[in-house]
């Protein structure tokens, strides 16, 4: 079809040519008939006719589709020009591809996490996560079922509010028990998310709290891997923690639950076995276990909804004041930055990385623009000829911009291929942890559109500016100035200098930020968390998810502790239900005995349940009092060990030993004070921490051993020992403490790694940029330099002459860049640890590095110019 129309076009073109020819012939014939000579007649006729090419051009426009044909011609012309200088084309395309890829990679990460907080859900923009009390990172589930139900039923601003709680559980019944993540959900869970079942059905409203309705919904991936895509699975019974449950449905592919970044495998109702009645009928303590997400009514703003829920919550607090001590204000967050799950962390890291990537793209565009300008300057004769042949300025500019656009489209295509791989590298930053993390970039239409936008922007940026500038020169001037030109005129020289200065100025902030982030990473790695982490092995035993009774659990725990402690190579063995620095914590309101808190006053502390010798194994000194002993069990009075921050928080200037704290409405007596240690991040501000006795309050069972040698070597022995007690005991997450705590610095690693890569690209671009421009200008001044030398300038003078240019440009760039950089580091100040945003050492070293590299880049052309033979230099023009 295209060939056909092209053929038609050619024919019409030929006919137009003939038509004009006929016109001329007849005019000539008339003039000859009037007595003019053949030659003068021809000249007069042609003169009278006017500009033939132009007449053809405007006539062709009448045919319609003219622009399309012009575009095709321009593209062909652009391709021909680009083919003529393969060096430029390859360099520019590669640089643009890398820069676009940097942007699209970070963008694909944002797209896969923040833009797609709940895969498979409908209109996630309308979803908000509800938080009660202070807003912080990885908060504990904030609502009790009764509070949740009241909020759900009494609000006026939501179409639906869902609740869930998830945890590990073992799938038994098969050949091999399998550890899966299970979520207890409200009946409207899938409705609010807008997800339809792939097989069977989801939960019914009346199933929500009715106890002992053992129905389960499978995720697609579990259905596929464990149940071999059985199409008749609905109605069958499966065994979970040794209880039979009936499969009622399968969720569609890709649906992984409502917490961003985590993967649920199964969904059950809030009390599927009828064993959780207590949790559904209380409003405080252990009954506060639900994460809550709401879908806003159309047209309702987040602020209105928060106000609405606050009113409802105030009424709840007024009705049940004793169950709602502490801060009860409701905050709503859009899912892209919801503090529950991964997006809180993503939202504080990825946009900054995208900003870095944008600077890289800008820098690359400047660099390519420099190259383009140099090319256009050397092509100015060609441009001038085309101009005097009747091309107007718009046509020239369009043509030149098109060259940039062609480059960037090719670069964009390359970036697309690259990104389909790099988008998946995101998972590298997240090591195996105790959470079922599913974080990765995604390569979908958003990213493709993003790449298209990035490349189009890049093409415009690096094509338009030089093109406009180059088309500016009047043709006559170009021809006149041809012989004596220096760098293609002072305007181009200024623009070139400006571009070089911009490149240096843009790369400095990248270098400074990456320097600061790298030093932050070093500081984080070097900082002592306040506990031993090098010879510690931890292993989680899924005791309460394997279907044991309470007494059995307690017995097995003691057995584990005794047997593991007896292993050769184990120095100290203990049990805990929390590992520090793994992005999670447990929190609870705690009040000193006799203290009456004001409404909404928050007295939250972190808490962990630890067995005897826990502090000994982690080398955390007990400053006062004692550590827990095996006697601190369920029959003994409840005891606590507080850390220094908690001691100061509750009893400033007093001896905390023997004091009482009220938690969950019960009194705990302080028996010891432990030294502060890191809970979440090395750079956290210390939060009060209370430790409870594992055999009194412990829930999860994590074995923690201090080993004599490398903890990895003990992993198998510890696992086997536990299985000796009962082979059905699920043991998982067996890994050295050091590996777990690295989770806390994974974002710092990501930030510094990406910033480092970007800064390296920036440095290379800036240095090649200044090298290119100085070399080019020096080459254009060959004649002048030859003259100077011939007239008596020394070689050192020549060196100085060229170097001075470079120094001047570098100086300008560094000054501007420094101002820019010091403004930008404020943005990353929050991410830094142990170093100021304007740390003088980093600033000076970065400036020195960039300055030295730039000067080195100028030295080579200067040196070359110095060694030129003046005679041949003068001849060369």
């Amino acid at each position: 079809m295209k060939w056909f129309s092209n053929f038609g076009f050619q024919r019409r073109n030929r006919e137009l040519q003939e038509e004009i020819n006929a016109h001329l012939q007849m005019a000539i014939a008339d003039r000859v008939a009037r007595g003019e000579t053949e030659e003068t007649a021809r000249q007069a006729a042609v003169r009278e006719f006017g500009n033939i090419l132009l007449v053809q051009d405007v006539t062709r426009q009448m045919w319609g589709r003219g622009w399309f044909e012009q575009l095709g011609r321009d593209v062909r012309y652009a391709l021909r020009q680009l083919r003529k200088s393969p060096g430029f084309t390859i360099t520019a395309t590669a640089m643009l591809a890398v820069a676009i890829c940097a942007n699209s990679t970070v963008f694909s990460w944002i797209d896969g996490t923040m833009f797609r907080p709940i895969p498979g859900a409908r209109d996630t923009d309308d979803l908000v996560s509800l938080q009660r009390g202070e807003r912080n990172f990885s908060p504990v589930p904030p609502f009790s079922y009764l509070d949740y139900r009241d909020l759900r039923e009494r609000n006026h601003t939501f179409t639906g509010i869902l609740a869930y709680h998830h945890d590990w559980i073992t799938l038994t019944g098969g050949a091999q028990p399998e550890l899966v993540y299970i979520a207890n959900v409200s009946a409207n869970y899938f409705d609010v998310l807008g997800i339809k079942p792939m097989l069977g059905r989801f939960f019914l409203a009346e199933e929500e709290t009715r106890p002992a309705i053992p129905n389960v919904v499978l995720s697609y991936s579990l259905w596929k891997t464990r149940y071999a895509e059985d199409p008749a699975i609905v109605g069958k019974s499966i065994e979970i923690a040794r209880h039979p449950l009936t499969v009622i449905g399968v969720a569609p592919e890709g649906v992984v639950g409502a917490m961003p970044g985590l993967r649920d495998d199964l969904w059950v109702t809030l009390d599927p076995l009828g064993t959780d009645a207590w949790r559904l009928t209380h409003r405080s303590g252990g009954a506060v276990w639900l994460n809550v997400i709401g879908r806003l009514r159309p047209g309702v703003s987040r602020g209105q909804a928060a106000q609405d829920l606050d009113t409802v919550m105030r009424n709840i607090v007024a009705a049940y004041p004793d169950q709602h001590l502490g801060d009860n204000r409701i905050t709503l967050d859009p899912m892209w930055r919801s503090p529950f799950g991964a997006n809180g962390f993503m939202a504080s890291t990825l946009p900054i990385l995208l900003a870095f990537a944008a600077v890289v793209l800008l820098l690359t565009c400047t660099n390519v623009a420099t190259l383009t300008l140099v090319r256009f300057v050397s092509r100015r004769r060609e441009l001038a000829i085309r101009q005097s042949l009747g091309a107007n300025r718009m046509q020239l500019v369009r043509q030149m911009v098109l060259e940039g656009v062609v480059l960037s489209i090719v670069a964009g295509a390359m970036a697309l291929v690259l990104t389909s791989w790099t988008s998946k590298t995101f998972a590298w930053f997240f090591r195996a942890s105790s959470s079922p993390t599913t974080l990765n970039g995604s390569m979908d239409h958003n990213v493709v559109i993003g790449i298209a936008v990035f490349s189009l922007l890049a093409g415009m940026l690096c094509g338009a500016l030089p093109a406009w500038r180059s088309s500016h020169a009047p043709a006559v001037e170009v021809f006149k100035a041809e012989s004596a030109s220096i760098s293609g005129g002072s305007r181009n020289r200024k623009l070139l200098s400006g571009l070089v200065v911009a490149q240096i100025a843009l790369s400095l902030p990248l270098l400074l930020c990456s320097g600061l982030l790298l030093r932050t990473l070093r500081n984080l790695a070097g900082a002592s968390p306040g506990f031993e982490q090098d010879h510690i092995l931890t292993a989680t035993v899924g005791l309460n998810i394997a279907g044991y009774s309470h007494d059995e659990v307690q017995l097995i725990r003691h057995q584990i502790l005794d047997r593991v402690a007896a292993l050769p190579g184990v120095k100290v063995a203990s049990l805990t239900d929390w590992i520090p620095m793994t992005l999670g914590h447990k929190g609870e309101d705690a009040y000193p005995e006799g203290y009456v808190p004001h409404p909404h006053e928050s007295l939250q502390v972190y808490h962990a349940e630890v067995a005897p010798r826990y502090f000994e194994s982690l080398h955390i000194p007990i400053l006062e009092g004692r550590e827990f002993t095996p006697d601190d069990d369920e029959k003994a009075p409840s005891v606590l060990i507080v850390d220094e921050t908690a001691a100061r928080h509750y009893w400033p200037g007093q001896d905390p030993l023997g004091k009482n704290l009220r938690i969950w409405g019960r009194l705990f007596t302080v028996v010891g004070v432990a030294r502060n240690s890191t809970h979440m991040f090395v750079n956290e501000s210390p939060e009060p921490m209370v430790y409870m006795s594992f055999f009194q309050e412990g829930y999860e069972s994590i074995v923690q051993v201090e080993t004599e040698g490398n903890p990895v070597d003990m992993a198998l022995a510890v696992e086997n020992t536990i299985h000796e007690i009962d082979t059905r005991l699920p043991v998982f997450d067996v890994r050295p403490m050091r590996e777990s705590t690295q989770l806390a610095s994974s974002f710092a690693v990501m930030q510094s790694a990406m910033a480092g890569i970007f800064a390296l690209i920036g440095l290379v671009l800036a240095v090649t940029g200044i090298y290119g421009v100085v070399a080019y200008r020096t080459q254009l001044r060959t004649h002048e330099i030859g003259l100077r030398v011939a007239l008596g300038a020394s070689r050192v003078d020549v060196l100085k002459l060229v170097l001075f240019q470079g120094v001047w440009l570098t100086g300008m760039g560094l000054t501007l860049g420094l101002a820019f950089a010091l403004g930008l580091t404020r943005v990353i100040a929050r991410l830094l640890y142990g170093i100021g945003a304007n740390d003088p050492v980093t600033v000076v070293s970065v400036v020195t590095l960039l300055g030295a590299m730039s000067l080195l880049a100028c030295y080579f052309p200067a040196h070359r110019a110095m060694l030129r033979n003046p005679v041949s230099a003068i001849r060369e023009l």
């Binding site: 003939e18 016109h23 006017g50 132009l54 007449v55 009448m62 319609g64």
Partner: protein
């Protein structure tokens, strides 16, 4: 380099009028581009000199609109040329153009030749 814009301006300026003049010329029989220029010049007593840069775009546009048709024929002087012929649709258009032209002339005339006092009434 601004020539093209000038052509454009002239086309716009003369648009309605040039189309009408061409159609009118073709009333007398099929004619080629050169013939149209000559005819217009002769009939206007050398007052109208149509630029080729306006004429050919106009002819091609008229053909696209279906007001004229073209075919290649030998001229009297054995020169092969493209002859344009007015179509039925083109004749209707000419009547319309003429009507409009007359109204314009009348309107402009009544403004230009207004007798003193008449405008007051």
């Amino acid at each position: 380099m601004n020539e093209k814009h000038q052509y454009k301006n002239r086309i716009e300026l003369l648009q309605g009028t040039l189309d009408m003049l061409i159609l009118q010329t073709l009333q007398w029989g099929p004619q080629h581009g050169y013939g149209i220029v000559q005819a217009l010049r002769l009939q206007s007593g050398d007052a109208l000199q149509v630029e080729t840069g306006s004429l050919y775009p106009a002819l091609h546009r008229l053909e696209r609109q279906g007001w004229v048709q073209s075919e290649w024929k030998q001229s009297e002087s054995k020169q092969k040329a493209r002859y344009y012929r007015i179509t039925a649709k083109g004749k209707k258009q000419l009547v319309k153009d003429l009507g409009r032209w007359e109204r314009i002339v009348e309107a402009i005339g009544s403004v230009m030749y207004v007798k003193p006092g008449e405008s007051e009434s």
